[in-house]
Protein backbone atom coordinates (compact mmCIF):
# COMPACT_ATOMS: atom_id res chain seq x y z
CA UNK A 1 0.00 0.00 0.00
CA UNK A 2 2.57 2.66 0.94
CA UNK A 3 4.40 2.27 -2.38
CA UNK A 4 1.24 3.20 -4.28
CA UNK A 5 0.95 6.50 -2.50
CA UNK A 6 2.25 9.45 -4.48
CA UNK A 7 5.33 10.94 -2.92
CA UNK A 8 5.51 14.62 -2.10
CA UNK A 9 8.33 16.93 -3.12
CA UNK A 10 9.90 18.88 -0.30
CA UNK A 11 12.29 21.68 -1.15
CA UNK A 12 13.92 23.21 1.85
CA UNK A 13 17.01 25.20 2.73
CA UNK A 14 18.87 23.60 5.62
CA UNK A 15 21.76 25.44 7.26
CA UNK A 16 21.93 27.63 4.17
CA UNK A 17 22.05 24.79 1.66
CA UNK A 18 19.15 23.96 -0.67
CA UNK A 19 17.80 20.41 -0.72
CA UNK A 20 14.95 18.88 -2.67
CA UNK A 21 13.64 15.38 -2.10
CA UNK A 22 10.58 13.31 -2.93
CA UNK A 23 9.42 11.65 0.26
CA UNK A 24 6.49 9.66 1.55
CA UNK A 25 3.90 12.11 2.87
CA UNK A 26 4.19 10.60 6.36
CA UNK A 27 7.89 11.47 6.59
CA UNK A 28 8.53 13.63 9.63
CA UNK A 29 10.93 16.55 9.47
CA UNK A 30 13.35 14.79 11.82
CA UNK A 31 13.34 11.72 9.55
CA UNK A 32 14.03 13.88 6.50
CA UNK A 33 17.00 15.40 8.35
CA UNK A 34 18.42 12.21 9.79
CA UNK A 35 17.53 9.50 7.30
CA UNK A 36 17.32 11.26 3.93
CA UNK A 37 20.01 13.88 4.47
CA UNK A 38 22.23 12.19 7.09
CA UNK A 39 22.06 15.25 9.33
CA UNK A 40 22.13 13.17 12.50
CA UNK A 41 22.96 16.00 14.90
CA UNK A 42 19.24 16.40 15.53
CA UNK A 43 18.28 13.64 17.96
CA UNK A 44 15.06 11.75 18.49
CA UNK A 45 14.40 11.39 22.20
CA UNK A 46 10.85 10.59 23.27
CA UNK A 47 9.33 10.73 19.75
CA UNK A 48 6.09 11.96 21.36
CA UNK A 49 6.55 15.75 21.36
CA UNK A 50 7.57 15.86 25.00
CA UNK A 51 11.34 16.01 25.38
CA UNK A 52 12.53 18.56 22.81
CA UNK A 53 15.72 16.68 21.83
CA UNK A 54 14.63 17.04 18.18
CA UNK A 55 14.21 20.84 18.35
CA UNK A 56 15.29 22.73 15.22
CA UNK A 57 14.48 26.21 13.98
CA UNK A 58 11.93 26.30 11.15
CA UNK A 59 11.75 29.72 9.56
CA UNK A 60 13.45 31.12 12.66
CA UNK A 61 11.07 29.50 15.16
CA UNK A 62 11.86 26.53 17.37
CA UNK A 63 9.79 23.43 16.60
CA UNK A 64 9.89 19.79 17.64
CA UNK A 65 10.92 18.16 14.38
CA UNK A 66 9.42 14.81 15.42
CA UNK A 67 6.02 16.53 15.42
CA UNK A 68 6.26 18.36 12.09
CA UNK A 69 5.75 16.64 8.75
CA UNK A 70 8.59 17.22 6.29
CA UNK A 71 6.11 18.77 3.83
CA UNK A 72 5.28 21.46 6.39
CA UNK A 73 8.85 22.74 5.90
CA UNK A 74 8.47 22.90 2.09
CA UNK A 75 9.75 26.24 0.80
CA UNK A 76 11.13 27.08 4.22
CA UNK A 77 14.44 27.36 6.01
CA UNK A 78 15.66 25.02 8.72
CA UNK A 79 18.56 25.55 11.09
CA UNK A 80 19.96 22.50 12.86
CA UNK A 81 22.85 22.07 15.28
CA UNK A 82 25.12 21.34 12.29
CA UNK A 83 24.54 24.92 11.13
CA UNK A 84 25.85 26.57 14.30
CA UNK A 85 29.66 26.27 14.18
CA UNK A 86 31.37 28.29 11.45
CA UNK A 87 34.85 27.58 10.09
CA UNK A 88 35.71 25.32 12.99
CA UNK A 89 34.62 27.95 15.55
CA UNK A 90 31.85 27.02 17.92
CA UNK A 91 28.79 29.24 17.95
CA UNK A 92 28.80 31.44 21.11
CA UNK A 93 25.89 29.42 22.52
CA UNK A 94 27.81 26.17 21.94
CA UNK A 95 30.89 27.76 23.52
CA UNK A 96 28.88 28.80 26.59
CA UNK A 97 27.50 25.26 27.00
CA UNK A 98 31.06 23.94 26.72
CA UNK A 99 32.51 26.46 29.17
CA UNK A 100 29.75 25.91 31.76
CA UNK A 101 29.58 22.16 31.19
CA UNK A 102 25.89 22.54 30.36
CA UNK A 103 25.45 18.84 29.64
CA UNK A 104 26.45 15.41 30.79
CA UNK A 105 25.62 12.66 28.32
CA UNK A 106 24.92 15.25 25.62
CA UNK A 107 21.91 13.57 24.06
CA UNK A 108 19.53 16.46 24.72
CA UNK A 109 22.14 19.14 23.96
CA UNK A 110 21.30 19.85 20.28
CA UNK A 111 17.71 20.58 21.30
CA UNK A 112 18.77 22.81 24.19
CA UNK A 113 21.10 24.74 21.89
CA UNK A 114 18.31 25.43 19.41
CA UNK A 115 15.85 26.43 22.14
CA UNK A 116 18.51 28.74 23.60
CA UNK A 117 18.93 30.41 20.21
CA UNK A 118 15.18 31.00 20.06
CA UNK A 119 15.13 32.31 23.64
CA UNK A 120 18.02 34.75 23.10
CA UNK A 121 16.47 35.89 19.84
CA UNK A 122 13.34 36.94 21.75
CA UNK A 123 15.04 37.94 25.01
CA UNK A 124 18.72 38.82 24.47
CA UNK A 125 19.09 39.39 28.23
CA UNK A 126 16.58 36.94 29.67
CA UNK A 127 15.40 37.00 33.27
CA UNK A 128 15.55 33.77 35.26
CA UNK A 129 11.83 33.28 34.68
CA UNK A 130 12.27 33.82 30.93
CA UNK A 131 15.06 31.22 30.85
CA UNK A 132 12.86 28.71 32.67
CA UNK A 133 10.00 29.36 30.27
CA UNK A 134 12.31 29.32 27.27
CA UNK A 135 13.64 25.82 27.96
CA UNK A 136 10.39 24.42 29.38
CA UNK A 137 9.95 22.29 26.26
CA UNK A 138 13.34 20.57 26.65
CA UNK A 139 14.10 17.73 29.01
CA UNK A 140 17.50 16.75 30.39
CA UNK A 141 17.68 13.61 32.50
CA UNK A 142 21.30 14.08 33.62
CA UNK A 143 22.14 17.57 34.72
CA UNK A 144 19.37 18.88 36.93
CA UNK A 145 19.48 21.89 34.59
CA UNK A 146 21.73 24.06 36.79
CA UNK A 147 24.67 24.15 34.40
CA UNK A 148 22.36 24.52 31.42
CA UNK A 149 20.89 27.52 33.19
CA UNK A 150 24.37 28.96 33.79
CA UNK A 151 25.34 28.30 30.17
CA UNK A 152 22.34 30.26 28.92
CA UNK A 153 23.17 33.15 31.24
CA UNK A 154 26.78 33.04 30.02
CA UNK A 155 25.63 33.01 26.39
CA UNK A 156 23.41 36.01 27.07
CA UNK A 157 26.25 37.80 28.84
CA UNK A 158 28.50 37.15 25.87
CA UNK A 159 25.90 38.99 23.84
CA UNK A 160 25.34 36.03 21.61
CA UNK A 161 22.38 36.30 19.32
CA UNK A 162 20.73 33.82 17.03
CA UNK A 163 21.50 34.24 13.38
Amino acid sequence: MPEEIPRVRVSVKINGKAYSREVEPRTLLVQLLREELSLTGTHIGCDTSYCGACTVLLNGKSVKSCTVFAFQADGGEVLTVEGLAKDGELHPVQQAFTDCHGFQCGYCTPGFLMSTLQLLDEHPQPTEAEIRKGIAGNTCRCTGYQNIFKAIQAAAAAGSRSQ
Binding site: M1, P2, I5, P6, V8, E24, P25, R26, L28, Q31, D47, T48, S49, Y50, C51, G52, T55, L58, K61, S62, V63, K64, C66, T67, V68, F69, F71, Q72, D74, S115, Q118, L119, A129, K133, G134, A136, G137, N138
Partner: protein, 297 residues
Protein backbone atom coordinates in the same frame (compact mmCIF):
# COMPACT_ATOMS: atom_id res chain seq x y z
CA UNK B 1 7.49 6.18 14.85
CA UNK B 2 5.74 6.39 11.52
CA UNK B 3 2.07 7.24 11.14
CA UNK B 4 0.08 5.00 8.84
CA UNK B 5 0.73 5.96 5.22
CA UNK B 6 -1.65 8.59 3.89
CA UNK B 7 -2.20 10.59 0.75
CA UNK B 8 -1.27 14.24 0.84
CA UNK B 9 -3.45 17.07 -0.46
CA UNK B 10 -2.26 20.65 -0.28
CA UNK B 11 -5.18 23.07 -0.15
CA UNK B 12 -4.55 26.44 -1.81
CA UNK B 13 -7.68 28.02 -0.37
CA UNK B 14 -10.42 27.27 2.16
CA UNK B 15 -13.00 26.59 -0.60
CA UNK B 16 -10.55 24.07 -2.07
CA UNK B 17 -10.12 22.44 1.37
CA UNK B 18 -13.91 22.17 1.67
CA UNK B 19 -14.25 20.53 -1.73
CA UNK B 20 -11.33 18.18 -1.03
CA UNK B 21 -12.98 17.09 2.21
CA UNK B 22 -16.23 16.56 0.31
CA UNK B 23 -14.54 14.43 -2.36
CA UNK B 24 -12.35 12.39 0.00
CA UNK B 25 -15.04 11.73 2.60
CA UNK B 26 -14.73 10.46 6.12
CA UNK B 27 -11.21 9.13 5.81
CA UNK B 28 -9.79 12.60 5.28
CA UNK B 29 -8.58 14.88 8.04
CA UNK B 30 -7.47 18.49 8.06
CA UNK B 31 -3.94 19.32 9.17
CA UNK B 32 -3.46 22.67 10.90
CA UNK B 33 -0.38 23.00 13.12
CA UNK B 34 -0.43 19.26 13.79
CA UNK B 35 0.65 19.49 17.43
CA UNK B 36 -2.15 17.15 18.54
CA UNK B 37 -2.91 15.30 15.32
CA UNK B 38 0.67 14.27 14.52
CA UNK B 39 1.31 12.65 17.93
CA UNK B 40 -2.07 10.89 17.65
CA UNK B 41 -1.16 9.64 14.16
CA UNK B 42 2.26 8.44 15.32
CA UNK B 43 0.60 6.45 18.08
CA UNK B 44 -1.92 5.21 15.46
CA UNK B 45 -4.78 6.47 17.60
CA UNK B 46 -5.69 8.37 14.45
CA UNK B 47 -4.96 6.87 11.03
CA UNK B 48 -6.53 9.00 8.29
CA UNK B 49 -6.06 7.86 4.68
CA UNK B 50 -5.91 11.44 3.47
CA UNK B 51 -4.53 14.63 4.96
CA UNK B 52 -5.69 17.99 3.64
CA UNK B 53 -2.95 20.46 4.53
CA UNK B 54 -4.08 23.97 5.51
CA UNK B 55 -0.55 25.26 6.15
CA UNK B 56 -0.17 26.68 2.65
CA UNK B 57 -3.52 28.47 2.43
CA UNK B 58 -2.62 32.17 2.25
CA UNK B 59 -3.99 34.85 4.63
CA UNK B 60 -5.19 32.45 7.30
CA UNK B 61 -2.88 33.55 10.12
CA UNK B 62 -3.80 37.06 11.25
CA UNK B 63 -4.96 39.10 14.23
CA UNK B 64 -7.29 41.96 13.33
CA UNK B 65 -8.88 44.39 15.70
CA UNK B 66 -11.82 46.38 14.44
CA UNK B 67 -14.07 46.47 17.44
CA UNK B 68 -13.73 42.76 18.14
CA UNK B 69 -10.48 40.81 17.96
CA UNK B 70 -10.49 38.43 15.00
CA UNK B 71 -8.01 35.56 14.84
CA UNK B 72 -7.41 33.69 11.62
CA UNK B 73 -7.85 29.98 12.34
CA UNK B 74 -4.21 29.22 11.43
CA UNK B 75 -2.81 31.84 13.82
CA UNK B 76 -0.16 30.16 15.96
CA UNK B 77 -0.43 30.39 19.74
CA UNK B 78 2.97 32.14 19.90
CA UNK B 79 1.76 34.85 17.53
CA UNK B 80 -1.23 35.51 19.77
CA UNK B 81 0.95 35.53 22.91
CA UNK B 82 3.31 38.04 21.33
CA UNK B 83 0.80 40.25 19.55
CA UNK B 84 0.12 43.84 20.54
CA UNK B 85 -3.62 43.21 20.31
CA UNK B 86 -3.95 40.37 22.81
CA UNK B 87 -3.09 42.48 25.90
CA UNK B 88 -6.36 44.36 25.30
CA UNK B 89 -8.06 41.17 26.49
CA UNK B 90 -5.38 39.85 28.88
CA UNK B 91 -7.01 36.47 29.43
CA UNK B 92 -6.21 35.64 25.80
CA UNK B 93 -2.53 36.26 26.40
CA UNK B 94 -2.58 34.17 29.60
CA UNK B 95 -3.95 31.31 27.53
CA UNK B 96 -1.76 31.63 24.43
CA UNK B 97 1.46 32.15 26.41
CA UNK B 98 0.76 29.19 28.68
CA UNK B 99 -0.07 26.48 26.15
CA UNK B 100 2.47 23.64 26.32
CA UNK B 101 6.00 24.90 25.55
CA UNK B 102 7.64 27.34 23.10
CA UNK B 103 8.06 24.77 20.32
CA UNK B 104 4.41 23.68 20.45
CA UNK B 105 3.21 27.31 20.61
CA UNK B 106 5.25 28.08 17.49
CA UNK B 107 3.32 25.47 15.46
CA UNK B 108 -0.05 24.92 17.16
CA UNK B 109 -3.01 27.01 15.98
CA UNK B 110 -6.09 28.42 17.71
CA UNK B 111 -8.38 27.00 15.01
CA UNK B 112 -6.86 23.53 15.20
CA UNK B 113 -7.12 23.54 18.97
CA UNK B 114 -10.85 24.29 19.11
CA UNK B 115 -11.67 22.04 16.13
CA UNK B 116 -10.08 19.15 18.01
CA UNK B 117 -12.10 19.98 21.16
CA UNK B 118 -9.79 18.03 23.43
CA UNK B 119 -11.22 18.29 26.97
CA UNK B 120 -7.76 19.32 28.17
CA UNK B 121 -7.42 22.07 25.58
CA UNK B 122 -6.70 25.53 26.96
CA UNK B 123 -8.74 27.69 24.57
CA UNK B 124 -12.28 26.43 25.29
CA UNK B 125 -12.73 27.82 28.84
CA UNK B 126 -11.15 31.13 27.79
CA UNK B 127 -13.24 31.54 24.65
CA UNK B 128 -16.38 30.60 26.60
CA UNK B 129 -15.58 33.17 29.30
CA UNK B 130 -15.12 35.89 26.67
CA UNK B 131 -18.16 34.95 24.56
CA UNK B 132 -16.26 34.11 21.36
CA UNK B 133 -17.74 33.17 18.00
CA UNK B 134 -16.38 30.58 15.55
CA UNK B 135 -16.63 31.30 11.82
CA UNK B 136 -16.68 28.31 9.50
CA UNK B 137 -16.87 27.57 5.80
CA UNK B 138 -18.66 24.51 4.46
CA UNK B 139 -20.37 23.28 1.29
CA UNK B 140 -23.37 25.45 2.16
CA UNK B 141 -21.33 28.57 2.80
CA UNK B 142 -20.25 30.43 5.92
CA UNK B 143 -21.63 30.05 9.42
CA UNK B 144 -21.01 31.91 12.67
CA UNK B 145 -21.37 29.67 15.69
CA UNK B 146 -21.30 30.71 19.33
CA UNK B 147 -18.42 28.88 21.02
CA UNK B 148 -20.90 27.42 23.52
CA UNK B 149 -22.76 25.79 20.65
CA UNK B 150 -19.61 24.86 18.76
CA UNK B 151 -18.01 22.53 21.32
CA UNK B 152 -20.62 19.84 21.97
CA UNK B 153 -18.70 17.15 23.81
CA UNK B 154 -15.21 15.74 24.19
CA UNK B 155 -13.61 15.73 20.71
CA UNK B 156 -17.01 16.64 19.25
CA UNK B 157 -17.93 19.93 17.61
CA UNK B 158 -20.78 21.35 15.56
CA UNK B 159 -18.58 21.12 12.44
CA UNK B 160 -20.33 19.30 9.61
CA UNK B 161 -18.38 16.91 7.39
CA UNK B 162 -16.42 19.05 4.92
CA UNK B 163 -16.63 22.17 7.09
CA UNK B 164 -13.54 24.19 8.06
CA UNK B 165 -12.95 26.65 10.93
CA UNK B 166 -11.78 29.93 9.37
CA UNK B 167 -11.84 32.53 12.14
CA UNK B 168 -12.38 33.03 15.87
CA UNK B 169 -13.86 36.34 16.98
CA UNK B 170 -13.57 37.58 20.55
CA UNK B 171 -15.83 40.56 21.24
CA UNK B 172 -14.35 43.58 22.95
CA UNK B 173 -15.24 43.28 26.62
CA UNK B 174 -17.25 46.03 28.36
CA UNK B 175 -15.55 48.89 30.22
CA UNK B 176 -14.02 47.91 33.58
CA UNK B 177 -13.63 44.29 32.51
CA UNK B 178 -10.73 42.02 33.26
CA UNK B 179 -10.05 38.33 33.13
CA UNK B 180 -7.42 35.74 33.90
CA UNK B 181 -6.71 32.15 32.97
CA UNK B 182 -4.52 29.90 35.12
CA UNK B 183 -3.73 26.21 34.73
CA UNK B 184 -1.90 23.85 37.07
CA UNK B 185 0.48 21.51 35.28
CA UNK B 186 3.15 19.02 36.25
CA UNK B 187 5.44 20.54 33.62
CA UNK B 188 5.13 22.53 30.41
CA UNK B 189 4.66 19.90 27.67
CA UNK B 190 1.94 17.90 29.44
CA UNK B 191 -1.78 18.47 29.72
CA UNK B 192 -2.94 20.49 32.72
CA UNK B 193 -4.37 18.89 35.86
CA UNK B 194 -6.90 21.70 36.26
CA UNK B 195 -7.53 25.16 34.81
CA UNK B 196 -9.86 28.07 35.47
CA UNK B 197 -10.91 31.03 33.32
CA UNK B 198 -12.49 34.06 35.00
CA UNK B 199 -13.83 37.15 33.23
CA UNK B 200 -15.22 39.96 35.42
CA UNK B 201 -16.97 43.22 34.63
CA UNK B 202 -17.00 45.66 37.52
CA UNK B 203 -19.69 48.24 38.21
CA UNK B 204 -17.13 50.28 40.15
CA UNK B 205 -13.84 49.48 41.91
CA UNK B 206 -15.61 47.25 44.45
CA UNK B 207 -18.86 45.96 43.03
CA UNK B 208 -19.03 43.22 40.45
CA UNK B 209 -21.52 43.70 37.65
CA UNK B 210 -20.98 40.44 35.83
CA UNK B 211 -18.79 37.35 36.18
CA UNK B 212 -18.09 34.34 34.01
CA UNK B 213 -16.20 31.42 35.50
CA UNK B 214 -15.32 28.26 33.55
CA UNK B 215 -13.34 25.23 34.64
CA UNK B 216 -11.16 23.54 32.04
CA UNK B 217 -9.72 20.03 31.93
CA UNK B 218 -11.94 18.65 34.71
CA UNK B 219 -14.85 17.41 32.58
CA UNK B 220 -15.60 16.33 29.04
CA UNK B 221 -16.08 19.98 28.13
CA UNK B 222 -15.36 23.21 29.97
CA UNK B 223 -17.77 23.61 32.89
CA UNK B 224 -19.52 26.85 33.77
CA UNK B 225 -19.72 27.45 37.53
CA UNK B 226 -22.87 29.57 37.75
CA UNK B 227 -23.05 29.32 41.54
CA UNK B 228 -19.58 30.86 41.85
CA UNK B 229 -20.58 33.60 39.37
CA UNK B 230 -23.68 34.31 41.49
CA UNK B 231 -21.47 34.68 44.55
CA UNK B 232 -19.83 37.66 42.82
CA UNK B 233 -22.52 39.24 40.63
CA UNK B 234 -23.90 42.42 42.20
CA UNK B 235 -21.63 41.93 45.21
CA UNK B 236 -18.52 43.57 46.63
CA UNK B 237 -15.52 41.45 45.61
CA UNK B 238 -14.04 41.07 49.09
CA UNK B 239 -11.55 38.43 50.23
CA UNK B 240 -14.51 36.64 51.85
CA UNK B 241 -16.31 36.54 48.48
CA UNK B 242 -13.20 35.13 46.80
CA UNK B 243 -13.05 32.49 49.47
CA UNK B 244 -16.65 31.54 48.77
CA UNK B 245 -15.80 31.28 45.05
CA UNK B 246 -13.03 28.86 45.98
CA UNK B 247 -15.37 26.74 48.09
CA UNK B 248 -18.14 26.75 45.48
CA UNK B 249 -15.76 25.68 42.72
CA UNK B 250 -14.46 22.87 44.91
CA UNK B 251 -18.01 21.68 45.54
CA UNK B 252 -19.08 21.78 41.92
CA UNK B 253 -15.95 20.39 40.22
CA UNK B 254 -16.34 16.70 39.38
CA UNK B 255 -12.85 15.61 38.33
CA UNK B 256 -11.75 12.03 37.77
CA UNK B 257 -8.63 10.55 39.31
CA UNK B 258 -5.98 9.79 36.68
CA UNK B 259 -2.25 10.13 36.04
CA UNK B 260 -2.58 13.90 36.37
CA UNK B 261 -3.76 13.68 39.97
CA UNK B 262 -6.44 12.34 42.28
CA UNK B 263 -9.96 13.75 42.12
CA UNK B 264 -9.41 15.32 45.54
CA UNK B 265 -6.18 16.98 44.43
CA UNK B 266 -7.76 18.38 41.27
CA UNK B 267 -10.81 19.64 43.17
CA UNK B 268 -8.55 21.44 45.63
CA UNK B 269 -6.45 22.84 42.75
CA UNK B 270 -9.52 24.12 40.89
CA UNK B 271 -10.67 26.03 43.98
CA UNK B 272 -7.29 27.67 44.50
CA UNK B 273 -6.91 28.48 40.80
CA UNK B 274 -10.38 30.08 40.78
CA UNK B 275 -9.48 32.29 43.73
CA UNK B 276 -6.17 33.34 42.14
CA UNK B 277 -7.88 34.02 38.81
CA UNK B 278 -10.59 36.16 40.46
CA UNK B 279 -7.88 38.18 42.26
CA UNK B 280 -6.01 38.80 39.01
CA UNK B 281 -9.19 39.50 37.03
CA UNK B 282 -10.30 42.03 39.64
CA UNK B 283 -6.99 43.90 39.46
CA UNK B 284 -7.10 43.99 35.70
CA UNK B 285 -10.73 45.12 35.65
CA UNK B 286 -9.67 48.02 37.89
CA UNK B 287 -6.84 48.96 35.53
CA UNK B 288 -4.05 47.51 37.65
CA UNK B 289 -1.34 45.25 36.32
CA UNK B 290 -1.52 41.60 37.31
CA UNK B 291 1.05 39.10 36.12
CA UNK B 292 -0.47 35.68 35.53
CA UNK B 293 1.37 32.49 34.68
CA UNK B 294 0.51 28.83 34.78
CA UNK B 295 1.54 27.05 37.97
CA UNK B 296 3.76 24.01 37.89
CA UNK B 297 3.27 21.37 40.56
Amino acid sequence: MYPRAFEYHRAKSYPEAVSLLGELGEEAKLLAGGQSLIPLMKLRLSAPRHLVDLNFVPDTAYIRSNGALRFGAMTRHAAIAGSGAAPRIPILRDCAAGIADPQVRNMGTIGGSIAEADPTGDWAPVLLATGATVKTLGPNGERSIDIGEFILDAYTTALQPAEVVTEITVPLQPERSGGAYIALKRCAPVYASASVAVQLTMHDAQTCQDARIYLGVLGLTATRVSAAEDALRGQQVTPQRMESVRKTVMEIAQPQSDMRGSAEYKRHAAGVLAKLAVEAALKRACGEHAEVAHLYA
